[in-house]
């Protein structure tokens, strides 16, 4: 393997790992802020003690996750220069600005106010302390916006010109209002709410079933988290659907690839499963729902959806000879199904849990055995998030910036395969090691902490 493929692998591993924590940060920061607002506005003394403990409880889980997200995020920022120097040269005029703005407008807020929040319980007024966590939530979600502005340009360049062999920014406003950003950001935001909320559901359910003393308070967080997550999952589905429809115009190759539609059809069928043969550019076997793909794209049962082979021909006419099909159609196809499938399953689980906590509240004890098993479902949102990013990024290949620069020419020319092997193994090993320790710390903390009236 050469430095290029190793660099891609390294970027994929570190991004997916980073994005295990990011959605939790996005969603859980808002949830903790809501909890603290509830605490600040609550009445009786006993209630306040318990609510404060609850804020600190979920706050601690948030902090463990937050720390992992922050440190792995620095790696991502450095990567663009370390492994992708020719990309940085070509794109610096455009890509650097949102990255610097992310640090200037979001990271500073996040990092300063998280410090104030952690250590400021006795030093700040209750209201000010609550504002701190809201600012952390704001900063986190703003940083996601900036990085997705940058990513959206790579998926769908706007507001630029090519001068002296590099992309230069002609219109910052256009960059920020790229329609692609709307789809990506809203989808990521709702994914964050779903993930953070689902985490709270799982933890609350488990505490309800295993910790009698703290039970009552976790029933209350469970009720809130169920609504929060329900809202998130519906949002993810809605924005995802709209974004896919938008892809039909903005990046039809990506759309056709994750649906493995090789030939242009009108109306196009939706393949539920397919045995994809990328070499001969067709599916050797598939089970389809007739007209369904057309319906998903056009909201009607007639209408053309372009296939990969025609799009390849169009790309050759536009960019010259070359292979413009994402090189892992099979992976994209199954990732999409994994994402949608886990999303649907989450909606189902959240719905069932909602029925339990709202309509079976008094007989909730009969269902403790089910609640106790909820942690087994925790991987669901993380699978969906990772699969989603895989589709977004693999679907961009062979381009690093669609239509402007290919991934193959973007890699740092001075790197040897050995050097990238060292860092690839190093990052992966340290990341695995830290994951074990962080999960261990979180689980121990969750098991031990009681939410009772005692101070």
């Amino acid at each position: 393997m050469d430095a290029l493929i190793l660099s891609r692998l390294q970027f994929a591993i570190t991004t997916i790992y980073h994005f295990l924590f990011v959605p939790v940060t996005l969603g859980l920061s808002i949830f903790v802020a809501l909890l603290e607002t509830w605490y600040v506005n609550s009445g009786s003394y006993e209630e306040r003690i318990k609510l404060k403990k609850l804020v600190k409880f979920f706050g601690t889980i948030f902090l463990i996750n937050f720390a992992m997200g922050v440190v792995t995020g620095i790696v991502q920022e450095f990567h663009f220069g370390m492994n992708w120097s020719e990309y940085a040269r070509f794109m610096g005029d455009i890509f650097g600005a949102p990255l610097a703005l992310e640090a200037l407008t979001a990271f500073f807020i996040e990092s300063t106010f998280i410090g104030l929040w952690i250590f400021g319980w006795d030093k700040l007024s209750e209201k000010m302390h609550c504002i701190c966590i809201w600012l952390v939530a704001f900063g986190s979600n703003l940083s996601a916006f900036w990085i997705l502005v940058a990513n959206s340009f790579m998926q769908h360049p706007v507001g630029y010109a090519i001068e002296d062999g590099r992309a230069v920014m002609t219109d910052f406003f256009e960059l920020v209002t790229n329609p692609y950003v709307v789809g990506e950001y809203s989808h990521a935001l709702f994914a964050g709410i779903s993930t953070g909320g689902f985490l709270v559901i799982v933890i609350s359910a488990w505490k309800i079933a295993t910790d009698e003393e703290s039970r009552e308070m976790f029933v209350r967080t469970l009720r809130r988290a169920v609504l929060y997550t329900f809202f998130g999952v519906l949002g993810v589905m809605g924005t995802g659907h709209l974004h896919a429809q938008y892809l039909a115009q903005a990046n039809p190759m990506k759309l056709a690839s994750f649906e493995a539609l090789w030939e242009t059809e009108n109306p196009a069928p939706f393949a539920v499963i397919a045995d994809i043969n990328q070499d001969s550019r067709r599916n050797d076997f598939e089970i389809v729902i007739p007209k369904m793909f057309t319906f998903m794209v056009h909201n009607s049962f007639s209408g053309e959806v372009k296939g990969i082979n025609d799009l390849q021909k169009e790309a050759v006419e536009k960019y010259g000879s070359g292979y413009y099909i994402p090189n892992d159609v099979r992976g994209m196809f199954w990732s999409f199904r994994a994402m949608v499938g886990t999303g649907g399953l989450m909606l189902f689980i959240v719905f069932i849990t909602a029925c339990l906590v709202f309509f079976k509240r008094n007989s909730l004890r009969d269902y403790h055995c089910c609640l106790k098993l909820m942690p087994l479902l925790l991987p669901l949102p993380f699978i969906a998030n990772s699969a989603g990013w895989y589709i977004a990024e693999a679907g961009r290949q062979p381009w690093i910036v669609v239509g402007l620069q290919k991934t193959a020419v973007a890699v740092s020319p001075n790197l040897s395969a050995d050097e990238v092997w060292i860092t690839l193994i190093g990052f992966t090993a340290v990341y695995l090691f830290l994951a074990v320790l962080a999960v261990f710390a979180a689980v121990m903390f969750i098991r031990r902490t009681k939410i009772t009236e005692e101070e």
Binding site: I64, F66, A67, V70, V71, T72, I74, V75, E77, F78, F80, G81, M82, N83, S85, E86, A88, R89, M91, G92, D93, F95, G96, L99, A100, L101, E102, A103, L104, T105, F107, F108, I109, S111, T112, F113, G115, L116, I118, F119, L124, E163, V168, M169, T170, F172, S412, N414, L415, E419, I422, T423, G426, F427, V430, L434, L437, A441, M444, F445
Partner: protein, 334 residues
């Protein structure tokens, strides 16, 4: 004054902020070596609320370099590939350590994370010294702005000397910060004795480093740099004296000025270059051939003018909130 110069100054400001703020964080982290558990806990608590915000100065300096001088970002980060890898590992372990060390109460757990903080503070301090020296000393950069040397080119004696010098300077700075933040009088006196030793060692290495750099680089070619470095050395000496007589506030101010003037002097020596090529002066990266377009520079200038003062305000406020000295009671449960 064109925008390229403005951005050279802004990058200087960001790196100055980074070295001053993370300088004492790294110093405090390194000073934990060999300390008993309750003292380490106090040290961590002293920087606990602010280290994350301080680290963002580095991230912003990196991001701003990317935005304003993308070729510098590209060349520098790909050149220092393995060094940055090592630094990232150190920063990762250190950042997680602050969060996880207090989560479980058994000794091995805390000791491990405290080691991570020490390691994670030492490595970046050393490597920034190495990197900064190499920028000025020159690296084999070809006409395409590509680094054509190997890892060992980065680890020359002069650069290592720069690395050790940074470690000592940050230790000195960190000790001065701690003597402002710790309540235990006996401990503060001990830290101030340490600070004096670090200050003396810093002065010696400063002299050696300056002498070697004067031979190997053109650092002393500009009068302004000479003046700034002279002020810097004088500040270190003043800081030494202040630590000796027990004036913590003056000592910390002195080491702050020492770092600020050192950074300023260094960037003035570089100007208008940012990365020097040892192959040919024509291949050096400077504020014009490495820069973004005026359009982007203008946009970023507006953003910096608006947001940097705001950041300074709320960060200053957070230091004010945490102005109290740390008592052993503050950390009894950590």
């Amino acid at each position: 004054m064109d925008l390229n110069i403005v951005w050279f100054i802004l990058i200087t400001v960001l790196f100055t902020g980074f070295f001053i703020l993370e300088g004492f964080d790294y110093g405090v982290g390194m000073m934990m070596i060999g300390r008993p558990k309750n003292e380490r806990a106090q040290f961590v608590r002293a920087i606990g609320p602010v280290w994350d915000g301080n680290e963002v100065w580095m991230i912003t300096a990196g991001g701003a370099t990317f935005a304003a001088f993308p070729h510098v970002y590209a060349t520098m980060f790909s050149t220092f590939y393995l060094a940055l890898f090592l630094m990232l590992l150190a920063l990762i372990l250190r950042g997680v350590a602050f969060e996880l060390r207090g989560k479980l109460q058994f000794a091995d757990w805390i000791n491990f994370w405290d080691f991570a903080i020490m390691f994670g503070s030492f490595i970046p301090a050393l490597l920034w010294g190495v990197a900064v020296t190499n920028l000025l000393r020159g690296l084999p950069i070809n006409f395409q702005m590509h680094f054509v040397g190997d890892f060992l080119d980065l680890l020359n004696p002069c650069a290592l000397l720069g690395g050790i010098f940074f470690v000592l300077l940050f230790l000195f700075h960190g000790a001065n910060f701690l003597s402002l933040k710790i309540a235990d009088k006996g401990l503060v006196e001990e830290i101030q004795r340490k600070s004096f030793c670090y200050g003396v060692a810093t002065t010696i290495f400063y002299a050696v480093f300056a002498a070697v750099a004067a031979v190997q680089t053109d650092i002393l070619a500009k009068p302004a740099t000479v003046i700034f470095l002279a002020v810097s050395v004088a500040s270190v000496l003043l800081g030494c004296y202040s630590a000796k007589v027990g004036n913590a506030c003056k000592a910390f101010s002195a080491s702050t000025v020492a770092i600020a003037t050192l950074t300023a002097g260094f960037f003035i020596a570089l100007f208008p270059r940012i990365m020097v090529s040892s192959i040919s002066p024509d291949f050096s990266l400077n504020i014009y051939n490495a820069a973004s377009t005026p359009n982007t520079l203008f946009l970023m200038t507006v953003a910096a003018v608006i947001f940097v003062p705001i950041v300074l305000c709320y960060q200053a406020w957070s230091y004010k909130v945490f102005k109290d000295r740390i008592t052993p009671a503050d950390v009894h449960y950590h």
